[in-house]
Symmetry: D2
Subunit: 109 residues, 4 copies
């Protein structure tokens, strides 16, 4: 059975942080701030129009994902499981019959 790709990546990330003795900076709050900071840089690719540079979009998206994975790990959460769990909540809030083709928020459906 192939090992989970995510688990292998998380182990590399943990080693990367550990060998630089950076865990001390990785409080959940600092990681949450970092997710926001990098999300702003990703958004910056689209500031005035379509991105001029797709490699910059890829890099900034990678940065947001990296901090999300570090935060999930720090909180003892599996990132794919939490997405799946939230999807079930969203499924209930947005029944297909009411929400199909509409971007309306659930409390206005």
């Amino acid at each position: 059975m192939s090992q989970d790709r995510l688990e292998r990546l998380l182990r590399e990330l943990r080693e990367f942080v550990r060998e630089r003795d950076w865990q001390q900076f990785h409080s959940p709050e600092n990681l949450a701030k970092s997710v926001s900071i990098e999300a702003g840089e990703l958004l910056g690719c689209y500031q005035w129009g379509p991105p001029e540079d797709s490699s910059r979009v890829q890099e900034e998206l990678a940065d947001v994902l990296t901090y999300c994975l570090l935060l999930a790990d720090r909180l003892g959460l599996d990132p794919l499981d939490v997405v799946l769990e939230k999807l079930e909540v969203t499924r209930a809030k947005y029944p297909v019959e009411l929400s199909r083709g509409r971007s309306t928020k659930h409390d206005q459906l």
Copy 2:
């Protein structure tokens, strides 16, 4: 061999979006905006101090991750691969000898 968990999750997300006919709203720019919006809600859990509610942190983190996965998929990128590739870039920018125990930005090392 077990199927990649990420691939199974992505297929569920795609189906979720498709059955609601929401692809029309999922331009890369709208998805990048959504990553920022949800990152702000995640940060909101830490606004005045430690979070009072760990389930809210989990939910908001799930939202950021969800939009990151949707954006990666929309751009034809594998989210785990892009994180791994960026890690190699970061490895070069932050050699262990210079960066160990320090939060200093790479251009100040």
Copy 3:
């Protein structure tokens, strides 16, 4: 009677934008994106701990404010009036007796 400092500043900002023919990029949405982008850079000053550089904080705060003023102007709003109006709403949501010394959100008071 001295002229309103804010009005003089807004006129300089409008002239600055006009002489560069930049109004075309200043849709309300692009300005809202820019507020978020600069807010992320301001937050970046506090990413791992206290800011090392107070002039950088000042600069990033100036950027957020600039885009807020441009957006207010674009929407025909007076920035100081909207803050005052919102303060009245917040006053009602957070009566002194209930909220004094507490960071609790209004719906939990």
Copy 4:
């Protein structure tokens, strides 16, 4: 001579905070986080398309501005002066001849 409208507003904001004993929560870092959080809510008005509700845009913009004013005040900065100072820096980075009609970043001009 009419008193500066900004100064009158700042005094109301300070009193509002003081009578609720909220200064304890208003560290520069918490205020910077709050600017980001509210910027995300403002951006949320434009998430999937044009805003459905202009009063919501006004309210969220007021929130961002409020926290910017509180942060400026906490740091001993005049918000209008810092915008004017930054404008001079931007003037030099974006000479009219090179930047007219172009959204190109200054280091690419």
